[in-house]
């Protein structure tokens, strides 16, 4: 199935249920709209999420990602459209009967209950026998490495421990879908990094479906099988992280995910070049999906720009490469990599990054140095919108 192959090409692991047309999604969001007064938080949005997926809703604040999560949980009612789980329309199902659980951004731990009491809360609502509740609570606390803290109250825990209690509490009922609202926003950077990997590990071990809301793109890219990039209540692109980064479908997505150099031009007559950009004629690797003469944009990621002191590129004559002379304006040294701000002779600002692999002394570039920038044609992404 070549169609499937091309769509799974960017998948992280050998797991791409969204590419399998025969598979029914676990969670279907069909044309859902949610308005708050005159403000449209979610705008006619449709989305399929599959069993076992780690799915991320990513977008700037106010893009509607949390509202979408709350619509799934049942805390908000959709003005239009349906939320379907396992083929069942959730509209008439109140939040306390939905087989989904949510981990709140504030954690929302019950301050008057112990850690055990918090984790057991959901099971008690189901009316399970006491022994079974105790067993499952203990099992869950072991899973999040809090077995020694069961008798503590939330205010006696650190932020990271509280976060794990919230996770245990939302997982203990084995939800069909676990909704995570900015679960790591309150953690410091280092802990966040570790927790992301723990969360992925947990999700795969339990085989559950996770939907995470985040505004942190590196977090989304780390944990998610697929990312839905949202803006103003609409989906901009839904794809695996690598595809979102390597093949953004619009200027907005290209600019939102990572940094990018954007150059406006017109689609060339041969369909393999863009004319009239600030850097002149640029060659691209794939056929441009636009009529010749139509306005298109070339996006080049900063790390794909090669910086050399001389125009000594061997591919230059064969026109496989694009190149331009530029002056170095500024260097931001970030430790692992450096960001170079450049200006072409025509005054176009560009950005390049380079991993600091060579020892500091051997990197002999400084401000006002003349450099030669080049990038292969397959590094040029052509965007038509």
């Amino acid at each position: 199935m070549p169609a499937v192959e091309s769509r799974t090409g960017f998948a992280k692991r050998d797991f791409a249920p969204w590419a399998d047309r025969a598979l029914a999604p676990l969670l279907r969001i069909e044309g859902v709209t949610k308005r708050f007064g005159a403000y449209t938080a979610v705008d006619h949005l449709s989305l399929d999420i599959y069993q076992g997926e780690f799915f991320a809703l990513l977008g700037p604040s106010g893009c509607g990602k949390t509202t979408l999560l709350r619509l799934i949980a049942g805390f908000e009612r959709a003005g239009a459209g349906r939320v379907v789980l396992d083929g069942v329309d959730l509209a008439p199902v109140p939040p306390y009967r939905r087989p989904v659980n949510m981990m709140f951004q504030s954690y929302a731990l019950f301050p008057h209950l112990t850690v055990e009491g918090n984790v057991a809360f959901g099971l008690k609502q189901e009316g399970l026998p006491k022994a079974q509740i105790a067993e499952r609570v203990a099992e869950m606390l072991t899973l999040v490495r809090l077995e020694k803290f069961g008798a503590r109250k939330p205010h006696e825990l650190s932020g990271g421990q509280r976060q794990r209690v919230a996770l245990a509490r939302s997982l203990v009922k084995r939800p069909r879908v676990l909704l995570l609202d900015e679960p790591m926003a309150a953690l410091d950077k280092k802990l966040r990094g570790e927790t992301q990997f723990e969360l992925m590990d947990l999700q795969r071990r339990l085989g559950l479906t996770f939907v995470i809301v985040t505004h942190d793109q590196s977090e989304a890219m780390t944990v998610a099988d697929r990312i839905a990039v949202m803006d103003r209540g609409r989906l901009m692109q839904v794809a695996p992280p690598a595809e979102i980064y390597e093949q953004p479908n619009s200027r907005w997505v290209a600019d939102f995910i990572g940094s990018v150099n954007l150059l406006e031009g017109r689609a060339g007559r041969d369909g393999m070049s863009v004319e009239g950009t600030a850097l002149g004629r640029l060659h691209v690797a794939a056929k441009i999906a636009a009529e010749p003469g139509a306005t298109v944009w070339v996006a080049v990621r900063p790390e794909k720009l090669r910086m050399t002191p001389t125009p000594g590129s061997p591919d230059r004559q064969s026109a496989l490469e694009n190149d331009v002379a530029a002056t170095l304006v500024d260097i931001a040294y970030l430790g692992d990599l450096s960001i170079y701000r450049l200006r072409t002779d025509a005054g176009v600002p560009l950005q390049a990054t380079r991993a600091n692999t060579a020892p500091l002394a051997e990197r002999g570039t400084g401000a006002n140095d003349k450099v030669w920038l080049s990038f292969p044609r397959d590094a040029a992404i052509v965007l038509t919108r």
């Binding site: 949980a73 805390f75 306390y96 659980n101 949510m102 504030s106 929302a108 959901g122 609502q125 509490r169």
Partner: protein, 309 residues
């Protein structure tokens, strides 16, 4: 708070800052401790037909000798007297009973009001808070007189009941315990509603969402989450009502009958009718000791709340 925070040395405070911290202490010493010590001293004295009507009196002119004689003249006789006459015990018991029952009624009436207030939009809440304290703009005494008028034999209440055919004979309200309860509940309601509202208003809405998310319907979440978390407000409101209600004088005096002898009236009678200042003082001192117990409980609760935050 970690231990490191606790053991850290006190931060430097300027003279002004120290002064500001001490103002409440100065206030308490001047207006609570000193008057209390005076009352305590009188309670240990004996009645006398004199001015002031007790002995011994503080005689500065006699110097050290006078002070020694003062202490020699003090005795616990009045307290022994309180124990010997059941009138006082019954009066205390009646006061505590009326105050406790009123407090329960205040909770039953005040909690739904406070809860409903937190459920209204923000702008409306401000108006509601003002309306709760609005009765304070009229003198307390006038409001109790108004109740005397409402509750009298041919007053508006009885006329309404007769008009609605709810009663055949106009019931007697004034000079009954019911009238005292009505007066206390009416007058103390803001003291119950405001602390309850303050607690409920702070309640994190996401806790109720979390409860719902975990399979708990709204009505059940009220019992499992809202009510336990509003305990500090319940305790604060109950104490703010119970403590002054125990010593209430005006309401039982104006609305209650001679049979509802609350402790405030007993003190009044001892002071003004019997001119027995030492016994009156002893009654008052015992009352203060009785009320310190709930205040200590309240303090304990508040400190626990502070630690949690």
């Amino acid at each position: 708070m970690t231990d490191a925070h606790r053991t850290r040395q006190k931060p430097y405070r300027s003279f002004m800052a120290k002064l500001v911290v001490r103002i409440p202490y100065a206030w308490l010493i001047a207006f609570f401790l000193v008057p209390f010590l005076i009352v305590l001293k009188i309670s240990l004295s004996q009645t006398a037909i004199a001015q002031p009507p007790y002995t011994p009196v503080f005689d500065l002119a006699a110097g050290w000798h006078g002070i020694a004689r003062l202490f020699a003249g003090l005795s616990l006789d009045n307290y022994a007297f309180l124990g010997s006459d059941p009138l006082y015990f019954l009066s205390y018991a009646k006061s505590v009973e009326i105050a406790a029952f009123s407090t329960v009624m205040l909770l039953i009436i005040g909690y739904p009001i406070a809860y409903a207030m937190t459920r209204t939009p923000r702008r409306v809440q401000a108006v509601l808070v003002v309306s709760v304290i609005l009765p304070f703009w009229t003198s307390f005494l006038i409001r109790i007189y108004a109740w005397m008028n409402i509750l009298q034999h041919d007053g508006p209440l009885n006329r309404l009941l007769l008009a609605l055919d709810l009663v055949r004979e106009p019931p007697v309200w004034l000079s009954t315990n019911t009238a005292v309860y009505i007066g206390i509940v009416y007058s103390y309601l803001p003291f119950m509603v405001l602390p309850l509202y303050a607690t409920l208003e702070k309640l994190d809405e996401s806790l109720l969402e979390a409860a719902a998310d975990l399979g708990c319907p709204r009505w059940k979440a009220f019992w499992l989450i809202t009510l336990p978390l509003s305990a500090p407000g319940v305790i604060a409101g109950a104490l703010l009502c119970f403590i002054p209600a125990v010593g209430e004088f005006v309401i039982p005096d104006l609305l209650g009958g001679s049979r509802t002898a609350m402790i405030g009236q007993t003190i009044w009678t001892e002071f003004f009718a019997n001119k027995d200042w030492p016994t009156a003082s002893a009654v008052a001192v015992v009352l203060v000791c009785l009320l310190v117990t709930p205040i200590v409980i309240f303090q304990h609760q508040t400190m626990r709340g502070v630690e949690r935050d």
